[in-house]
Symmetry: C2
């Protein structure tokens, strides 16, 4: 193989037109890329643009019918691990992220996974709810004490509500991001013999 | 006024093309209608068809721009109380419902609210997460011990995955639905002097 490195996908959970999630995810991906030997890519739910869940059958029946579902299933299948970057909206996860999760089921099973949350109130409440969902669908989550909740202050925002400097936010949370990256890499290393 | 009765809106939380939520909500609304002196209407999120949250500004800034947001805000403002009928997807609430909630903020504050959840695994996990969200946004929830979680068995479904008999499901949960209706009515009665 020309490229035996595992693929880690950073899932951009927010899909709002004005959002910090993309900048933050780019910066988080950059820290992960520097920390571990892996291909790190973004899966941006705004770009992917899944409609509100419109499959006829429940995901567990494994009878996906829509092209957007099949594409999304392939993107997750081709990811060896996933890092969810989720905003906290009203003490919970955003619809965009839950929608993307609920489209699939078998693709999540056993997938190494970690959570980075953020918001004006931090992101711990969203992370807690998301962890319950990810545990239920069978992802292989890193320990909860590694969940990284990033609190954004007014100074982090520009006037247009994008981030002034995503890299600066990631830098001050770099230890937490690297701890997640190491834990995910550890899971991938443990899986490697079986996945050859 | 020709119609001084309060309006209770039953919010159909599921928006999937194949779902039991509409049938179940119709049946729940019927039990509520018989139990209390109120106008009981459905707000069906599939019919309302909100796109994935696309407002430029956060709901708390009260700068709604899109016609679909303004319509939804009016529908909630005109509701004196809301009963959320939510499916449980993967131990959480569905994207369709969280999306509708996150569109608004001030419209929810102080609104008497109750939760009916359902699913093959019951609905208690979804109700618990939804309660955290509804408490955060400031709805006036009935006590948690009234949350009604309806477990649907195989026999409840037709071959096409709609309900065989929504009224039968509501009937075997009628005590729980009536308890919710009474609690909501009690809150409305307490609010009445202020709303004249």
């Amino acid at each position: 193989m020309s490229n035996p490195r595992p693929r880690i996908s950073v899932i951009v959970g927010s899909a709002r037109p004005v959002r910090v999630g993309r900048q933050l995810s780019d910066a988080v991906a950059s820290v992960i890329r520097d920390a571990v030997d892996a291909d790190v890519q973004l899966l941006d739910l705004r770009e992917i643009g899944l409609p509100m869940l419109d499959e006829q059958f429940m995901a567990g029946m494994d009878m996906y019918q829509n092209p957007h579902t099949l594409t999304w299933a392939r993107q997750i299948s081709e990811s060896d691990a996933v890092v969810f970057v989720t905003p906290q909206y009203n003490a919970g996860y955003p619809a965009s992220l839950k929608n993307a999760i609920d489209y699939l089921l078998k693709e999540w099973k056993g997938k190494p996974a970690a959570i980075v949350s953020y918001g004006g109130h931090g992101g711990g409440a969203a992370a807690k709810q998301l962890r319950e969902v990810l545990a239920f669908i069978g992802t292989d989550l890193v320990p909860a004490d590694l969940d990284l909740a990033i609190t954004l202050g007014r100074d982090d925002y520009r006037e247009d509500w994008f981030l002034a400097d995503g890299d600066a936010v990631a830098e001050r949370n770099a230890d937490g991001i690297r701890a997640i990256a190491d834990a995910v890499a550890g899971k991938l290393a443990a899986l490697a013999p079986a996945s050859v």
